[in-house]
């Protein structure tokens, strides 16, 4: 049951990205272009998503397990470190170049565009590089 619902949540997530316009890189870049003709749509996407998710997450913070008995696995780290800020900086630069972040990349991967296949391949290489560097660090 949990597996089926996880799949269903993923489908809803993907449909949400597609209907919100988040899956159109040109529109994302229009949102990031404050100095040009600015398209504020994506600010509303985020506001609506947080508006809906706020109460469920507030509930989840105080639970040890989910409604269907899965352990509640929310991040516990609190401190702001160089990795968090440096990583987010690199991510933001990449996002600003192509207008594609990981969710939309997955959501448009199967729409038959070589650009998305290339982007996702490079993104996965980046993630593998990170994992290799982490292993080296021990």
């Amino acid at each position: 049951m949990r597996k089926l619902l996880a799949f269903l949540a993923g489908v809803i997530f993907g449909i949400g990205l597609l209907s919100a316009g988040m899956a159109n890189p040109a529109k994302v870049l229009g949102f990031l272009d404050l100095a040009g003709a600015w398209d504020p749509s994506l600010a509303l996407v985020m506001a609506a998503a947080i508006g809906v998710a706020f109460l469920p997450f507030s509930w989840a913070r105080w639970q040890r397990s989910s409604l269907l008995g899965a352990p509640m696995q929310l991040p516990v780290k609190r401190e702001l470190d160089r990795r968090l800020i440096g990583g987010s900086l690199l991510f933001g630069i990449g996002w600003g170049i192509a207008g594609i972040c990981p969710g939309p990349a997955v959501a448009i991967l199967l729409t038959g565009r070589w650009q998305v296949l290339l982007f996702v391949a490079a993104m996965l290489v980046g993630m593998v590089v990170f994992a290799a560097l982490e292993r080296q660090r021990g």
Binding site: R2, F13, S19, N24, P40, A49, I93, M123, M127
Partner: protein
């Protein structure tokens, strides 16, 4: 700054955002997990625990456009970058989201919804970097 009223789509943005919020809510309430796409991808690559439900969530996102197409045609997807820019961008997004422990979904939606200070810092950082990058590429370099 001028608002691009022609491309501004408030209702579909709000509706799509609400669906994203609903999906993230389901995943945490039912599966006890944060719907952060970069984190889910990373843990699949690194063979972390509990991969079944994570993989199924990702599979749902992956198949969403195919299910969409059963009912209507896909919305516009426009990509203007060449191969070099896409490769550089993909590498930066892959490495950056793993070091930064999250992306637009994990930090921006789930993290802000649970009032995490780390996610707020990360979201402000990648937003600022995104704004700055587009400014440099479009208005300073004119490309």
């Amino acid at each position: 700054m001028s608002i691009d009223w022609y491309n501004f789509t408030p209702w579909s943005a709000l509706a799509g955002g609400a669906l994203i919020g609903l999906a993230a809510s389901l995943f945490v309430v039912i599966n006890g997990r944060v719907a952060g796409i970069s984190g889910l991808l990373g843990s699949l690559l690194e063979r972390g625990e509990g991969r079944g439900e994570k993989a199924l969530f990702l599979l749902g996102v992956l198949l969403a456009p195919l299910l969409w197409q059963l009912f209507s045609s896909l919305p516009e997807i426009q990509i203007d970058n060449g191969w070099l820019a896409l490769t550089v961008a993909g590498l930066l997004v892959g490495i950056g989201t793993r070091y930064g422990a999250g992306c637009t979904s994990g930090h921006g939606v789930c993290g802000l919804s649970r009032l995490s200070p780390r996610s707020l810092a990360a979201t402000l950082t990648f937003m600022a970097a995104g704004f700055a990058t587009v400014f440099v590429l479009r208005h300073l370099l004119g490309g």
